[in-house]
Every structure is written in structure tokens, then in C-alpha cells.
């Protein structure tokens, strides 16, 4: 298993570590639900060293990305970030990704740990005809997120000569942080909260983490593991590859149209024709379910309307924020109206649930 630059820190904090996408990662430092509440009421620190980080440069970088990714890269303003996907010709995703459009024509791409090898292979397979360089920066950079209402106040203490208040949602900048010049900082995250992600030179990652922990102490900032991260992103209605989308679940029926561009000027891209057909004739939709019952919906749990199975749970969990058990589920069209009562089937025992639009939780994004 691969170790992030912060592995020893997690060990010292007494975290429970698990294999996640080939990395030895903290799943929790304390009770998972307490960690969720910390992020919702204060802020939390996340080690994201496992995420893949790829820099695409060269004169054709943008045009190349537009031939592979679902969003319209040429239309992204520089210093802005957009959600996107890599799909196969059948429209099903290889991964979902973030595109950072740089001044000077480069594109910085953040991908999931579990798919990073497949993404890189896919990207390298398709460079022909483009003047591009695909550079894997995963091992050069550490990655830390701070997420929560006090994240700006905490991070600002470590930033010199830049006002984080200027950084809009899904924008990035290069700033001096902890004395390290030109550090990439983005206002992004996977929690639905105000938050930032930092791309730190590998050997400085532990120092920056410790500085954030120290600066965050008076605010009640704590380290947060993958268990809470999963609940936070589910509450915020954000997809996770392998759940809401995967090799058999396309982005259109998962409600990710905002990350898919059919603009004619974008030209052709891999998966376009298939996704256009699905968009014209969808058969299912990703919805939210809440249940007052004690059982926690899990991936694959069947969803019934009367005697008919109409879908299955994609992700489920306990939400300490809305005090219910929640799930995302793919259900067939006609069973997706908010307020509709359905049943979740736990090995023959039914538990009532109610359809609702995702997300379960959101804060205004300004």
C-alpha cells in the first residue's frame, strides 16, 4: 500500500487506517458522526494525498482535454475550476475529475485515487495528434483540505499578501502559504461547506498540516477521516465514483449534466454520441432517499414500490446533520418524484423511505 506524506501524523493521532484505492488512509480519528458534526459546525482537516494530480501542458493542452473530458475546457475562464468526467465511447465514466484552467494554457487535473492509474493510461493513450505533455504530479505534491465555516479564518492566518476573501467558489490562485511561495490553493471541496484545498510540495506537507492544526486549535478544528468524508459528500449530494457513477452508471442519469457539454463548438469527444442518446431518452434518475427507520441503506440495497423493484441504493449512511438515515439511489423514471414513498428492502424486511431531491444539505455558495 502507498503512504501519503502524512502517514506518520495519522499514526501518531491514533487514526484507524484502511486500504483505500491502494493507499493506507485514515478512516476515522474518533467517532465518525462527531467528525461530520465538527466539519458542519467548525472545520476539519483532510489528508487528500491519495488523490491523483496530473498536469497537462503544451500548446494543444486545452484542445486535447476537450477531446477526452465531458466539460468544455476551452470555455472555462482561466483561474476557474470545473467538474468533468472521462468517459468511454459507451458514455460510462472512467472517472470524474476537476479541471483547473491555468493562465498560459495548461490544465491541472485532479482525479480519484482508485482510478488514477486508469486515467493516466487513458490520457497517454490519446495524446496522438496533440502537442501535449501529461505529467503525473501525484508523488511531487501533497494535498490537504480544510473544510468548514471557519476554514477561511484559519487558513488566512498562514497566508501572506493575499486575501482569501477574493477567491471565489471553484476558483484557484497561487499564494505564499507557510512561507512557501506559489502554492496552488483552490476554493473547492467535497463537503458542501466553505473550504479550500492546498497542493503542497511533498516534503513540506507535514509542516503545513501541523501549522493548520495549530492555527485551527482555537476554532476547534480537528482531523477528519474518510468515513466522515463519505457522509459529508453524500449529504452534499456529491457523487463518488463506484457508487453514483461507475462503468455501468452514466453521468446523465446521475444528474451530472452540469459537467457534460454538448456545445457544437466543443467538437467531438469520447462518449459524446452515447451520452447524447441517453440524454434524449433517459430511463432512470439519481435521487435522494430519507428514512426514519433504524436500518442504514447500503450500496446495492434494493428499492421497491409495492411488489416491484424500481431501483437500488448507490450510497447510504447515517446523517447527523439532518438526523435521519439517508441514501442516494438510481430509480426508474416515474418513481423519482420528491415526496413519493418507497421501501428499502433489507433481506426481505421492508423499511419505508421518501424520495427527495439531492442534496440533503447545502449552504449558499457565494
Amino acid at each position: 500500500m502507498k503512504l501519503t506524506a502524512l502517514h506518520d501524523v495519522h499514526d501518531r493521532l491514533g487514526a484507524k487506517l484502511i486500504d483505500f484505492g491502494g493507499w493506507h488512509m485514515p478512516v476515522q480519528y474518533g467517532p465518525i458522526l462527531d467528525e461530520v458534526t465538527t466539519v458542519r459546525t467548525k472545520a476539519g482537516l483532510f489528508d487528500l494525498g491519495h488523490m491523483g494530480r496530473v498536469h497537462v501542458t503544451g500548446k494543444d493542452a486545452v484542445r486535447y482535454v476537450d477531446s477526452l473530458a465531458t466539460n468544455f475546457c476551452a470555455k472555462i475562464p482561466t483561474t476557474a475550476i470545473r467538474y468533468s468526467l472521462f468517459c468511454r465511447a459507451d458514455g460510462n465514466p472512467i472517472d470524474d475529475i476537476l479541471l483547473y484552467k491555468e493562465e498560459g494554457g495548461g490544465v491541472f487535473i485532479v482525479v480519484n485515487a482508485s482510478n488514477a492509474a486508469a486515467d493516466l493510461a487513458w490520457m497517454r493513450e490519446h495524446t496522438q495528434g496533440f502537442d501535449v505533455r501529461v505529467h503525473d504530479q501525484t508523488d511531487e505534491l501533497g494535498m490537504i483540505a480544510i473544510q468548514g465555516q471557519v476554514s477561511r479564518d484559519v487558513l488566512q492566518k498562514l497566508v501572506e499578501g493575499y486575501d482569501l476573501g477574493q477567491l471565489g467558489y471553484y476558483k484557484f490562485a497561487f499564494a505564499t502559504i507557510c512561507g512557501i511561495r506559489n502554492m496552488r490553493v483552490s476554493r473547492t471541496g467535497y463537503t458542501g461547506e466553505l473550504g479550500y484545498e492546498l497542493y503542497v510540495p511533498q516534503r513540506e506537507t507535514e509542516r503545513v498540516w501541523n501549522a493548520l492544526a495549530e492555527a485551527g486549535k482555537p476554532f476547534g478544528v480537528a482531523p477528519i477521516g474518510l468515513g466522515a468524508r463519505d457522509i459529508l459528500r453524500l449529504e452534499a449530494g456529491m457523487p463518488l465514483y463506484g457508487h453514483e457513477i461507475d462503468a455501468t452508471h452514466n453521468p446523465i442519469e446521475a444528474g451530472l449534466n452540469f459537467g457534460v457539454s454538448f456545445a457544437p463548438e466543443k467538437g467531438d469527444w469520447i462518449g459524446r454520441a452515447a451520452l447524447e442518446r441517453i440524454k434524449a431518452n433517459p430511463t432512470q434518475r439519481l435521487i435522494g432517499l430519507t428514512t426514519d427507520g433504524p436500518r442504514v441503506p447500503r450500496q446495492g440495497t434494493p428499492v421497491f414500490r409495492g411488489a416491484e423493484q424500481v431501483g437500488a441504493v448507490a450510497s447510504g449512511g447515517v446523517s447527523p446533520t439532518i438526523h435521519k438515515n439517508i441514501a442516494s439511489a438510481h430509480v426508474k423514471l416515474g418513481c423519482d418524484q420528491p415526496g413519493l414513498g418507497l421501501e428499502i428492502d433489507f433481506k426481505g424486511k421492508r423499511q419505508a423511505c421518501t424520495v427527495q431531491e439531492l442534496p440533503f444539505f447545502s449552504r449558499t455558495r457565494k
Binding site: 478512516v27 467517532p31 465518525i32 458522526l33 462527531d34 468515513g227 433504524p294 442504514v296 447515517v318
Partner: protein, 139 residues
């Protein structure tokens, strides 16, 4: 973590972390402190649900008699002993914190009328062997 407390040697243990203990004419079945800790990581609020069977159910050795669920995952409860369920400790279903507090006594789950008097000799471990088994599972 595993050697923190010596486990009681008045009972037998299964590889799936249940215990079985002779109690008069019947056998009590529960889960070990290791199982509870693995599910809850030491935080009893992480346990969310437990489903136990009705009385009268006939169980084969190793058969699933219920489920226990934490914030993270669901685990089957498997009976270390074959026989009929004659009593169920429904209090555990309502108060999962009992399992963290006292998995050995108050946290018993089902009382089984064993199909065989020699149930204790069947593929189960004593406390010392269970300790060794946990050690061997560590890595």
C-alpha cells in the same frame, strides 16, 4: 488492543467472534469485545442497529441468526452452536451500548437449547486459542 483484558475462559469462541457459554440446560450466545470494537472502533454511538431472531427458530452451527450494524457496515451474527432459540435478549436491540459495556454477561443475545450435549467440542476455540487466533489475524 487485543490483550488488554483476558477473555473469560468459561466459554467457547468462534472465528467470526461470537461466544457460547453453558448456562444451566441451555447455551447463551453473544459477541466478543473484539467484534464490538471492530464494529464501533471503540465508540458505542457508532453502533446503530441490531436484529435478533424470534424464539422457536432452529439454527445450524454457523447459521446466521441476526445482524448488527454500525455507522460503517453490517455484520452477520452466526450461531456457534446448533439448536433451538428459546429466549432472545431484546434489550440489546434497544440499547446497543450494552454491548460496549458488557458483551460477556448483560450483552448475551440468544439462549439456545443445544441440539447436542457435546456442542462445546465442535470446531470452537477456548479463550487461550481465541487470543492466539486474534494475534494471527492482526497482519
Amino acid at each position: 488492543m487485543t490483550s488488554k483484558t483476558m477473555r473469560p475462559d468459561d466459554r467457547k469462541y468462534s472465528e467470526s467472534h461470537e461466544w457460547a457459554k453453558q448456562d444451566g440446560d441451555a447455551v447463551l450466545v453473544g459477541i466478543t469485545d473484539f467484534a464490538v470494537a471492530a464494529l464501533s472502533n471503540g465508540n458505542d454511538s457508532d453502533l446503530v442497529y441490531c436484529d435478533l431472531p424470534e424464539t422457536g427458530r432452529d439454527l445450524a452451527q454457523g447459521e446466521t441468526f441476526g445482524e448488527i450494524e454500525s455507522v460503517k457496515a453490517v455484520s452477520d451474527l452466526n450461531s456457534p452452536v446448533a439448536g433451538e432459540v428459546i429466549e432472545v435478549n431484546h434489550k440489546v436491540e434497544e440499547h446497543l451500548e450494552i454491548l460496549s459495556r458488557d458483551p460477556w454477561n448483560e450483552g448475551w443475545m440468544i439462549r439456545v437449547k443445544a441440539a447436542s450435549k457435546t456442542w462445546a467440542s465442535e470446531k470452537l476455540m477456548n479463550a487461550a486459542d481465541y487470543e492466539k487466533y486474534l494475534e494471527s489475524q492482526k497482519h
